[in-house]
């Protein structure tokens, strides 16, 4: 079974600065997807960014980018020019792409990000 580990329960960053959230995962599969979801105080789950394992190029969405290291099974999220609205719980998630019906998301425990003005 796949596992996702987020080793930083809490992180803080100053407004306008850059912060990196860590995520590692364990899998024996070669094809999979990785995601970062954001959960603000409203508790809505919002997709931030996704990465296909077969792509070597790191995904980027505006101020959000990832550092995907497949061999190291590492998938970190970098938030640049942090804004107050970025404050939230961030979940790293894994999804198999190896066929069959196992397309559920497996989440890490989350990292609570605080943005200081």
């Amino acid at each position: 079974a796949q596992t996702v580990t987020q080793s930083q329960p809490e992180m803080s960053v100053q407004e306008a600065e850059t912060v990196t959230l860590s995520c590692t995962y364990d899998t024996s599969e070669s094809d999979y997807y990785l995601f970062w979801y954001k959960q603000p105080p409203s508790r809505q789950m919002i997709l931030v960014i996704r990465q296909e394992a077969y792509k070597q190029q790191n995904a980027t969405e505006n101020r959000f980018s990832v550092n995907f290291q497949k061999a190291a099974k590492s998938f970190s999220l970098k938030i640049s020019d942090s804004q107050l609205g970025d404050a939230a719980m961030y979940f790293c998630a894994y999804r198999s792409e190896s066929g069959g019906s196992n397309y559920k998301l497996t989440f890490g425990k989350g990292t609570l990000l605080t943005v200081n003005p």
Partner: protein, 112 residues
Amino acid sequence: AAGVIQSPRHLIKEKRETATLKCYPIPRHDTVYWYQQGPGQDPQFLISFYEKMQSDKGSIPDRFSAQQFSDYHSELNMSSLELGDSALYFCASSLETTETQYFGPGTRLLVL
């Protein structure tokens, strides 16, 4: 853009009662997933449906059942509710099983 709709948004029940949660996926999405998120926890997968057939099953109690209807909406039926069932229940939808899952706002269930 249309999002996933869940109803009700909040639900309060007594122990041993029954609850029904509804999920309306994004238009044209044919796959629905249900997740349970307890207080301070990460979401846990319960069950999924693709084209009205159950496609995967996770840690869903036998007291719970679910189905997907012809219009692709899904319902999660929960019976003999226990205090431990108090949680946020998410529905997510995707276009086919291989696409990104988009989450609804969740249903907050409180069992007293």
